[in-house]
Amino acid sequence: MTWKTDTHTGWGRVHSTTGELARPERQSALLRLTETITAPAIGMRRSYGDAPLNSDGRAIDMTRLDRIISFDPEAGLLEAEAGVQIGVLADVLAPQGWLPAVMPGTGFATLGGCIANDVHGKNHHIDGSFGDHVESITILLAGGQRKILTPGRNKDLFRATIGGLGQTGVILSAKLRLKPCVGDVIMVTEQRAADFDAFISLLDNSRATYSVGWIDATAQGNALGRGILEEAETGAGLVPAPKRAKSVPFNAPGWALASPIVKLFNALYYRRVPKTGRTLVKPIGDFFFPLDAIHNWNRLYGKLGFHQFQCVLPVDRKDDLREVLDLIARSGLASPLAVLKRMGPDVGDQPAGMMSFPQEGYTLAVDFRNRPGAEILIHRLEEMTADAGGRVYLAKDSLARETRIKSMYPEHATWCDIVNKADPEGDLKTDLIRRLDLRTAQ
């Protein structure tokens, strides 16, 4: 009664896979099944590509192990089971003056998934990545042994687990250092950036705690790189309760996000914000998780699905970033979902995880419909990223190639050593790991 055969996909829905899933609802059920079987854990499958897939194999869905285990409102410390969703934590904590220190762009991501991809949020330039705020991790190692990981006691395994794509074991729970917030509303200032240079300078000069840029990835010529910068601070006050989420009930037809429509949409979206900018007050969720208001929005891309490409380029490689944008704009393949953000330097003396994506620079994320040409374009973008000393984000990827990826992650070889010791049989491998042969050092 534990394993069921299921066909499922990552968020981009390009690849679907059939494998066996278990979804324990209690710790005791999880421990029973891991006594005999070692399998990778997965969360809400909000990774776009094949990170949460294990074709013809097994995976443990952690989403029902979602309880808050302890909370210290004085110290701002929280421990929770790995399946809890970040948006739920935000809802529960904000009225008490705290937030998860780092929140990705979807509140549906689980605590375990946030650790395993060492996610970043709209405050990376100040607060670093998710892993920078993890005090300890309770993990179930291959073979069933439970272990508590902290930077003090077992730093290597701790750092191999953060951003470790589930390869060190099943994260059961974790203790987080929270970030104080004023209340559960957010004040957002929006301003237009007329072109690439204007955008970069706005990003560089932003002093806000939270900032994120929407970029019109279809604009070309003089308008290349135009967009809207949103800067925000938490606040107290009363705003209308968030509306209940809507849902996209079925796949949209193929033309729904065709190039002329996207161009038109983007132009309107850009003009929505007055030339002089504006300030709005919203419930926090509307700012942090704007897309969560529409469930299954990934169906808008039709049944073929879509890719997201996300890279980070160093601060001194702005010209390469401009070229990347130019290539995307000229391709006519971009969707309205394109984000540009400034990432800050490491907050500690080294990155939180050995395989952490964030590095100081500019990060660009763009969605592409799965159409002929998209793959070639993404491969070209990956090349340009590598040449510019940047990185491709594996949480979003389903196309990258082995050698290039390995050279983007400087601690990859050390990480390999540690995970191969922790899981010598390779039972925790996922499709992503196999595709990029990530468990073999270059």
Binding site: M1, E25, R26, A29, R67, I68, I69, V92
Partner: protein
Amino acid sequence: MTPNTQETWIILGATSSMARAFARSVAQDGAAVLLAGRDMEDMQVFALDLALRGAILAEAHAIDMRDNTGFAPLIERAQQEEGQISVAVFTGSMPPQSEIDDNPELIHGVIRDSFTGPAEFLQMIAPEMETRGGGQVVGVGSVAGDRGRIGNYVYGAAKAGFHTYLSGFRNRLNRSGAHVLTVKPGFVDTAMTWTVDGMFLVASPENVARDIRKALRKKRNVIYTPFFWWGIMSIIRSIPEFIFKKLSV
């Protein structure tokens, strides 16, 4: 419930995912929650979770529907709380029909978990609810109780018994001002149904909890959740027996 009266919810079968969703929903409104079930370790973790979500009190109590020794202490514990006492029953067990076919004795456990255990508990707590003159009872039955089907007729029979019991119990408690809601869920995405084939229109436990809360506010007597199961079951109930006996629905 007026804002200054406390409501204490006893949740029987508190480790099921439907019970969890329901308990979280009442916790958010500041209720006191007494979790009752067999997995103490699990319920203790859950009690903390509920407290952090707004429950003014959340405790775990060991109870087993097949052994009534835990019933009286739990009722005594609830009596110490002021205000209304309410009970939500989420217990039930559904071994595959084929296992029951091989081992008919399993029937007793199914009936005990899904019907007679909770009914005995409700009988025991009824006088206290009558004395207090209020409170609510949620009895989770099943669409399986509406008609005996080849795939799970023992479970269905237990739930049918529970439905009938609740109907009479509603009449009794109504006289003292307490309300009894019978809930008949269709397919719900829980550990019990995880590996069951041929599921369709599956509801999430959170949606079921939302439907139950809404039905309590409106003082509904019997609901199907999701609502369209009322239509499906109306059709299934109307099929003549001489045809139904040949179907494998």
